[in-house]
């Protein structure tokens, strides 16, 4: 069940009505309802993997209890590693098995040894990278004494599988979400309206921006040899907006949906394309994943403490692992490595925490210097996205080399080029709204608050109209479902 599907448009109001009218007298009942709804939501994709989700949930739930029970440090460690090994074991099997087998075969082949590997036709369970990380953060936090284990299985299971975040995040922390699940929730009119507003903006990002851009990005990336250099740059730009619209749109819908149930999820995006350097970009892009790696990998490795070599090593590790988390392909690893290279000069010169606030706060326009820095950061990001989008490394380098070696002009005329112009106009509209609302949680959070209600509603209606005018008839899946 996709957020942008008719099924979800029916599912959400039904769960909402049951939650606030039928189960509102009991927190326990509300949580049971959320759990059933979440499992149903997940089973709509493939019910067989529901058992995997349940197993993972049970594993971490019991590990959590054990970690609290045992007092011996060594035994605690054993329990922790059992959980980590099994969780990561599933992740590696479902996500990386074929990648490792193929890579070994290629390595042997390069050494002149013949090796015929057995590859498996494995379906990647949707959301596995996300709920595995939920579980891991929970047991690691208990091990480190940051939180106590959760005694109620239902409450813990809701924490892992709450449907708005189940398949593509944000990656929650037990210390943030579990207290909300355990606390009685009262309906807040303003918060619910805010949730709907954020869902609307998320749908706009996904349906109008990402899906439009996907059509042209796919066309250009699928056969770069047919296009001129300038068109290939346009293709990379389309993908840049596609992935942002797709993933941040998903996150907005998830946050908005959770808010309808009185739950606040972690913010995942904070206008990353307005960043003035790569460090700022990574504080604004997929925040819940970046902070997860920071807390559970980077800091345990020593973080930015220690000598230069240690800093460089840690930065490379965190970016390579982050790239690899996205998928079993060398392109993602290279994408991570490239971002590490972008990041290192800032870290080594101690300039990685210069731009902490949003650009031009309280002003209409950025300074020339800020605009220049944004443009540079954006260009570096677009370049890195080519690796992220490419099918393999050869494809990525072929694409990049063609930008420089093929004739640059004219822009290649392809089927639907005038509609692509339409998509470009919509992107400009979108970025203007994003700029205007960049100091808020999401772009339209406060937009039009000084207008009278009819005007404000007319604006929201206009967004709905744009969705109707630009949507694809077939539902397009979210990119991050594959991770």
């Amino acid at each position: 069940m996709l957020f942008n599907s008719i099924e979800f448009a029916l599912f959400l109001p039904i769960v909402f009505a049951l939650y606030w009218f039928a189960t509102n007298k009991s927190l326990k009942l509300q949580n049971i309802l959320l759990l059933i709804a979440s499992y149903f939501f997940y089973a709509c994709w493939d019910w067989r993997f529901l058992f995997l989700l349940m197993f993972s949930t049970l594993l971490d739930y019991f590990t959590g209890l054990k970690l609290d029970q045992v007092t011996n440090r060594r035994n605690k460690k054993i329990w922790l590693w059992i959980s980590i090994t099994i969780n990561l074991g599933f992740l590696v099997f479902f996500k990386y098995y074929n990648f490792f087998i193929d890579s070994f075969a290629q390595m042997f082949s390069a050494a002149g040894l013949h090796f015929s590997p057995i590859t498996l036709n494995i379906i990647l369970p949707v959301g596995i990278s996300f709920y595995t990380f939920h579980g891991l953060s929970y047991v690691i936090d208990i091990y480190n004494g940051k939180i106590k284990s959760e005694k109620s299985f239902v409450d813990y299971a809701v924490f892992v599988s709450f449907f708005p975040l189940l398949v593509a995040g944000p990656i929650e922390r037990a210390s943030h979400l579990l207290p909300q699940i355990k606390k009685e929730r009262t309906f807040d009119y303003g918060r619910a309206v805010d949730g709907l507003r954020q869902i609307l903006w998320g749908l706009f990002k996904k349906i109008v921006i990402a899906d439009q851009c996907a059509t042209y990005a796919n066309l250009i990336f699928n056969s770069p040899e047919d296009f001129t250099g300038s068109t290939l740059i346009i293709g990379a730009l389309f993908f840049t907006f596609q992935i942002y619209g797709d993933f941040s749109g998903y996150s907005d819908i998830a946050l908005g949906t959770a808010r309808l149930f009185g739950i606040e999820l972690l913010r995942n995006f904070a206008f990353p394309y307005f960043s003035r350097d790569i460090a700022e970009f990574w504080r604004r892009w997929h925040i819940s994943l970046s902070s997860w790696f920071r807390d559970y990998l980077y800091i345990p490795l020593g973080g930015s403490k220690g000598g230069t070599w240690m800093k460089v090593r840690n930065i490379f590790i965190i970016f390579l692992v982050s790239g690899f988390w996205h998928g079993a392909n060398w392109t993602f690893i290279l994408w991570g490595a490239l971002n590490a290279l972008y990041f290192l000069p800032l870290l080594l010169s101690n300039r990685n925490r210069v731009n902490l606030e949003i650009v031009a706060a309280g002003k209409t326009f950025p300074t020339f210097r800020e605009a220049f820095n944004i443009a540079i950061t954006f260009t570096l990001t677009v370049f890195a996205w080519i690796f992220f989008r490419a099918e393999d490394i050869g494809h990525a380098f072929g694409y990049i080399s063609r930008i420089f070696t093929a004739p640059f002009f004219p822009v290649t005329v392809f089927e639907g080029i005038y509609q692509a112009l339409g998509a470009a106009v919509v992107i400009v509209f979108f970025m203007l709204i994003e700029w205007k609302g960049r100091e808020q949680q999401y772009a339209i959070a406060k937009l039009g608050f000084t207008w009278s209600r009819p005007w404000r509603w007319a604006f929201y209606s206009f967004i709905i109209f744009l969705i109707g005018m630009f949507m694809e008839t077939n539902e397009m899946p979210f990119i991050y479902f594959q991770f």
Partner: protein
């Protein structure tokens, strides 16, 4: 939970407000925005194919001997003047890429008054494999819309068809198209009374390009509509002739499942495949890859009359 009730009430009022605003935006957007920003609205009154003029004429036509149904192969392939010479009054109700989902509607609207003795239904494999969007918006844009249009849009479940229908309803409501008149001669095309579109002899010919193979699978929605049409024609005791109009050899050879399609069509009754019957010259009898020139139409129509009407 009064707060929840207040919230639901507000959402309801907002949705009502949005429905009204959607019409308003659609109307303004279609009229004032450039085409490249109109991704999901395909309103084209008086577009190629003379559907508007044909559907105006059909409203004043009654009791014909032969009614032609089908795609552009129909309105560019059956010349009522040739049939008139053989003593048959005919009307050509073809439209651009007409799929069974649209033929069904046209029959519901006009079969009763046309009251034909024979229906010649041109079947073209791609129309049975199609989603039916192109044809649906052609008919929505050029005919009066009724409940049947709404049912068609519901069946197709395409946002472009839905928007086009909403816009067409708006236009009809305010009478925006009341005075519309279509030119009867457009570049090398001329509308001939009886629904036919003649390609003038001096029209430049498009090159008949090598076709890459078309891999079609029939669309169940279209097959269902097609079977409804057949049942309705048989129920009205009208003679039905199914046929494939000639297309260039290059295009014909590019289709897969040709024999399977022939076999399926034969199962519905009297059927002719003129790609197998006639041996036309791609450069002489066609002006593009799938439309006959006037010389081709003469040969095709005479052969049809000889085979189906002079037995």
């Amino acid at each position: 939970m009064p707060e929840v009730r207040k919230f639901i009430k507000s959402v309801g009022i907002f949705l009502l407000f949005t429905t009204i605003m959607y019409f308003a935006y659609l109307f303004m957007w279609a009229d004032f925005m450039p085409r490249f920003l109109q991704k999901n609205i395909f309103y084209r009154i008086g577009s190629t194919g003379y559907t508007f003029t044909r559907l105006q004429e059909v409203k004043t036509t009654q009791n014909v001997d032969v009614l032609f149904l089908g795609s552009s192969h129909t309105y560019r392939g059956f010349d009522p003047r040739i049939f008139a010479k053989h003593g048959m009054k005919s009307f050509n109700l073809g439209s651009s890429f007409q799929c069974p989902t649209q033929t069904e509607i046209l029959l519901k609207r006009y079969l009763h008054t046309l009251n034909p003795k024979t229906i010649v239904y041109e079947v073209y494999y791609p129309t049975l494999a199609s989603d039916g969007i192109e044809s649906s918006v052609d008919i929505i844009s050029n005919d009066k819309n009724d409940m049947e249009s709404l049912k068609m849009a519901w069946k197709l479940k395409h946002i472009g068809t839905a928007n086009t229908l909403l816009y067409a309803y708006c236009n009809e409501l305010i009478g925006a198209t009341d005075g519309f008149k279509e030119k009867l001669v457009k570049e090398s095309d001329a509308y001939i009374p009886g629904g036919y579109v003649e390609k003038k002899a001096e029209a430049p010919k498009s090159a008949v390009l090598k076709q890459s193979p078309w891999r079609y699978d029939l669309n169940p929605l279209q097959v269902q509509a097609f079977e409804n049409i057949i049942a309705s024609i048989k129920k009205n005791n009208i003679r039905l002739i199914l046929l494939q109009a000639p297309i260039t050899k290059k295009l014909y050879q590019s289709f897969n499942k040709k024999e399977e399609f022939d076999k399926k069509m034969r199962g519905y009754g009297e059927y002719y495949n003129f790609n197998e019957i006639l041996n036309l010259d791609d450069s002489l009898h066609f002006y593009d890859s799938d439309h006959l020139s006037q010389a081709g139409v003469e040969v095709f129509n005479k052969k049809l009359i000889e085979l189906a009407f002079k037995k």
